[in-house]
Amino acid sequence: MTAMLNVKDLRAYYGQVQALHGLSFALNEGSLTTLLGANGAGKTTTLRAICNMVRSTGAIEFEGKPLSGRSTENVVRLGIAHVPQGRGTFTTMTVEENLQLGAITRNDKKGVVADIERMYEHFPVLKERHTQQAGTLSGGEQQMLAVARALMLRPRLMLLDEPSFGLAPLIVRELFKILGKINREDKVTILVVEQNAQLALELADQAYVIETGRIVMSGSAAEIANNEDIRKSYLGY
């Protein structure tokens, strides 16, 4: 079976500084994979490199198509949704407008309307606030909105950058439950970057551990979670 996303020898640069040093990994269709590592290990950069938001070299293929040379918006149009760190909420627009923006590349009006309703079922709190300015939502609500906005694209692959950041533990659990549901029911392949390794490993089926721009460990989530050495040296719990 060929992988849905294939990353080979990825190197990324911020100006003169190299942040990724030849990263390779693959995601299978329908999988829920987590990318773990400490602060500054290169997790966010990896996601940004997939969407061509940083200068990078190496080969990234999505469903057989190379991504290099495509602008960010054209990567997204292939069906890759990216929930960025800090959520990227359009704070001055309403909740509903944020959802419409998620589907801005789609041409099926009816489908979009139906999907907005579906999001309100997934996240009832968004329905309550659909006319509110998104900036007035709480952090957890904004994270729900960000996930919902990404799903409005009807993505084949969803990239999430630290969705648990700044959220209360209860809300994180709820969010992760929804992510699992989306992965199983909507058949969306998910790559989630996390610092909260324990929670992420409970959710994911595959895991990669990354340190200073290199993959140092990979395997099934259960293997990684059960390996005490890895846990102690890389994941810190």
Partner: protein, 292 residues
């Protein structure tokens, strides 16, 4: 009392023009965070185009529409050719670019159509409006066209997909790209629309100030004042600011002794500085928090 009403109405009429200019300034400011110092010259050049078309026998409203189309295309072309490459340059470089554009357009207008003052027609006539002595039909027409334009723009931004995409690109470019919006073209579109809106302002004010290459300088300063008063981040603010500034200008000219037409520009200067110092975000703008 009649003098007062008269001045307020006249203020609203010129204010409509300032509102258009302010709107054009705000459209570009929202897209690229810069003030287009050449906005007035672009409008002036468009107005000359419409004048030339009419000289060739094109009827007024056709000339009007053709000019809008030309300005729209011209605005996009200027952005693509000259300002897109400057997107990441320091502010200074951009200011220099706008100044350069100002010089080029002003100079070319003078070369092509020379610097003499020309009459410019109005389709509304200049008889008293509805038999009242308060405002002329041209002034009423200026208000009418502007209000119509504003309604159309509101509908465009609120209810069309591309309007939504433009708003998103202006407010948060990175997030906009992440939902698949081509932000670079949204900026170009903003330039095109700003140029078209500016050309409307030029065409409407030309019968009042007469057509010549420097006709828009005063109007642009007042447009800036209006944009700043309304808050540079708010199109609605720009419009309200335009009308307020227009009314203020007329009342100041009437009731403050010694303030006549020759003090027009100092008043605009005072207005801009007062607003920037007292309320830099303007009436409707969002405050901006700076960080290191």
């Amino acid at each position: 009392m009649e003098l007062f009403t008269n001045q307020v109405l006249a203020g609203i009429a010129t204010g409509a023009i300032y509102a258009c200019m302010a709107l054009a300034v705000v459209m570009i400011y929202q897209a690229i965070d810069h003030l287009n110092f050449a906005q007035g010259e672009m409008a002036m050049f468009s107005t000359f185009i419409s004048w030339q078309l009419m000289q060739w026998g094109v009827p007024y409203w056709w000339a009007f529409l053709l000019t809008l189309a030309f300005s729209f295309a011209g605005g996009i072309a200027i952005e693509r050719l000259l300002f897109k490459p400057l997107a990441k340059a320091p502010i200074l470089t951009n200011v220099a670019g706008f100044i350069a554009l100002y010089g080029i357009i002003n100079s070319f207008a003078g070369l092509i159509w020379d610097f003499t003052i020309k009459q410019y027609p109005t389709p509304f006539g200049s008889s008293p409006f509805l038999g009242s002595q308060l405002i002329s039909t041209h002034q009423a027409g200026m208000i009418g066209v502007t209000v119509l334009l504003l309604i159309l723009l509101f509908l465009f931004f609120q209810y069309t997909r591309i309007g939504l995409a433009m708003r998103a690109a202006a407010s948060l470019p990175e997030s906009a790209r992440l939902v698949g919006i081509n932000t670079s073209w949204m900026i170009a579109l903003g330039w095109g629309m700003a140029a078209a809106i500016g050309s409307i302002a030029g065409i409407l004010i030309a019968p009042v100030v007469f057509l010549e290459p420097n006709m828009m300088l005063g109007v642009l300063i007042y447009g800036f004042a209006a944009a700043v008063l309304g808050g540079l981040t708010s199109p609605l603010g720009a419009v309200v600011g335009g009308f307020l500034v227009g009314i203020f200008e007329n009342l100041a000219g009437t009731y403050i002794p010694g303030v006549g037409n020759e003090l027009k520009l100092p008043i605009a200067l005072a207005l801009i500085i007062t607003v920037l110092v007292v309320k830099p975000a303007g009436l409707f703008g969002r405050p901006i928090v700076k960080r290191v």
